[in-house]
């Protein structure tokens, strides 16, 4: 007689893992999207409503992706967007981290800068995009500036929090054993604040991607945002979805990469920080 424990499970364990379920969920979801599109496009009401002007099916998206890829258009636009992203983001890192550090260590400067920082942080900086366009015109530089404005504040504030929460006793130990200020900085402050700073970078990635897109929607000669706007004004939804898919993949990749970097730079911190910074990541 077979015991209950020995009976083969109905579904294999590897099929029940969350990765499998996630993959199935995505595939089934895309399938539903395709079927719903086919069904809707055939109904009288939606045919009159011209649904194909603002919704594309997954198959059409793939087809459009192929077309854009072959014509080199996708590459050109992605290249410009990437350039703006990299310039703006690097500028944000170069300015955000030192300013955050200074604010954390110099009390007086913190008191003076704090009202400005918290006020601009609360402003949706994309609202400045039209004004920046009036000032600097079209092109890579003004768009990078919008990216910079979007990305700098999460980096600055997280650097500030990170440096502020460096454990005092560690600094005192290094000092007591005759460590120079440089040593305190490089051996204690930077490693102890690194996880928080990287969390700031991760938050900034999301904001920077949105800023790239918004800046390009406004004024650009190339870029994914420009591509999306161009085609959506011509009632062609395919490229719009291609643009979104490319940006989603880019966003998730960068996010995971920085997560990996966090584990690699400060392995002793990884799981501790995961709990602590969970809220901060949810922005």
């Amino acid at each position: 007689m077979k015991s209950a424990a020995k009976r083969e499970p109905l579904v294999q364990a590897w099929l029940r893992s969350s990765r499998m379920i996630a993959a199935c969920s995505v595939i089934v979801g895309i399938g539903i999207w395709q079927l719903a599109y086919e069904a809707l496009a055939r109904t009288h009401y939606f045919k009159d409503y011209a649904i194909y002007h603002f919704l594309a099916s997954p198959l059409q998206v793939i087809q459009t992706f192929g077309d854009l890829y072959r014509s080199g258009e996708l590459f050109r636009h992605s290249y410009f967007s990437l350039l703006e992203f990299v310039y703006g983001f690097l500028l944000a890192v170069v300015i955000g981290i030192p300013v955050g550090f200074i604010m954390a260590t110099q009390k007086k400067i913190n008191y003076y800068l704090d009202p400005w920082v918290s006020c601009i942080y609360a402003t949706p900086t994309v609202a400045l995009a039209p004004i920046i366009m009036v000032w600097f015109g079209l092109g890579i530089f003004p768009n990078s500036l919008v990216v910079f404005l979007g990305a700098v504040f999460p980096i600055l504030l997280n650097t500030y929090t990170g440096i502020k929460s460096v454990r005092r006793n560690l600094i005192e130990v290094v000092r007591a054993f005759g460590g120079s200020p440089m040593q305190v900085f490089f051996k204690v402050m930077i490693p102890d604040a690194a996880p928080a700073i990287i969390t700031g970078l991760r938050l900034a990635v999301g904001r920077a991607v949105i800023s790239v897109v918004v800046a390009e929607l406004f004024g650009a000669e190339a870029g994914l945002g420009y591509m999306v706007y161009f085609y959506s004004q011509r009632f062609l939804p395919g490229p719009v979805f291609v643009g979104i898919v490319v940006l989603v993949i880019f966003g998730i990749l960068t996010f995971t990469l920085l997560e990996k970097a966090q584990g690699w730079l400060s392995p002793w911190y990884a799981h501790q920080v995961k709990r602590q910074t969970h809220r901060m990541e949810m922005e």
Binding site: S18, I21, A22, A23, S25, V26, G29, H53, F54, L55, K108, Y111, Y112, L113, D114, P115, W116, S118, C119, I120, A122, T123, P124, V126, A127, L128, P130, I131, M133, V134, W135, L157, T161, G206, I210, V213, V214, L217, F218, V228, Y229, S232, Q233, P237, V240, G243, I244, L247, V248, G251, I252, F255, R275, Q276, T277, H278, R279, M280, M282, E283
Partner: protein
């Protein structure tokens, strides 16, 4: 004088903040009116104040603020209700969580703004398209934080209630809801920013009124001062909402430690 120094030291942060704002505005005004003096390039605080009163008297300002407020409030409200609902469902049921989580990740990372032109072609220039965009922006931070708040609850508390004969209902209302509340509030606070961006950007593309519309219309007409009125209003609105929610958070859960 010694008394003043004492008061100053006591409230040093507030004094310095006020001083910094005043100095900043004065420097800005001097730079604007003496050094550069070109209303197209730089607009000082005086010009912005002037444009503000002008728009206010014409009644235009109220119209724009009202339009944005309605879009924001409706989209945000629907986003909060659905976000909390789905977050609770995901926390309670493993299946729901595993089926939904890849989609939540994808949508959360997607620059929803790109859909704005499509929503406007589909739903028109009016309120509907904006509400949808604000909704999509607002829903995910609330959802994520509700889910996290409900899952990081200390298991010992649940066990203690159970050991003393608490029902499932009691566990839910006496432990899980109060425990998750601070994080839910954080979610509400974080989604304000995203919802505001959604409202503004959707107005950039096509609208008849709203702060985003004011900004684009003004900057396309090279009336930079008026565009800045919109930006300043947004800054004040964002700051006030953010601080109010932070205050409410502290009132609801004073034991909770805040970081952002």
């Amino acid at each position: 004088m010694g008394n003043f120094a004492h008061v100053y030291r006591w409230h040093e942060k507030k004094f310095d903040a006020c001083l910094s704002v005043i100095l900043g505005l004065v420097a800005w005004a001097i730079l604007d009116s003496i050094l550069i003096n070109n209303p197209l390039v730089l607009v000082g605080p005086l010009r912005i104040a002037e444009a503000f009163t002008r728009l206010l008297y014409r009644g235009e300002l109220m119209r724009h603020v009202y339009a944005t407020l309605v879009e924001f409030a409706l989209g945000y409200f629907v986003g909060v209700v659905i976000g909390i609902g789905l977050g609770v469902l995901m926390a309670l049921s493993r299946t729901v969580k595993e089926v939904l989580s890849p989609w939540v990740t994808i949508w959360y990372n997607a620059p929803i703004i790109l859909l704005a032109p499509l929503f406007i072609t589909a739903l028109g220039l009016g309120l509907a398209s904006k509400i949808v965009i604000v909704f999509i922006g607002a829903v995910f931070p609330v959802l994520f934080n509700t889910y996290t708040g409900m899952t990081i609850i200390d298991g010992r508390l649940v066990e203690a209630v159970r050991a003393f004969g608490g029902t499932r209902r009691q566990i839910f209302f006496k432990v899980i809801v109060p425990g998750a509340l601070p994080l839910v509030m954080t979610g509400l606070r974080l989604s304000v920013g995203r919802a505001l961006v959604g409202a503004i950007v959707s107005e950039f593309f096509g609208a008849r009124a709203g702060i985003g519309y004011l900004i684009t219309a003004a900057s396309e007409g090279f009336r930079t001062a008026e565009a800045f009125v919109g930006v300043v209003l947004l800054a004040i609105g964002g700051y006030v909402t953010f601080e109010t929610l932070k205050y409410v958070e502290r009132k609801i859960a004073p034991w909770y430690e805040y970081r952002v």
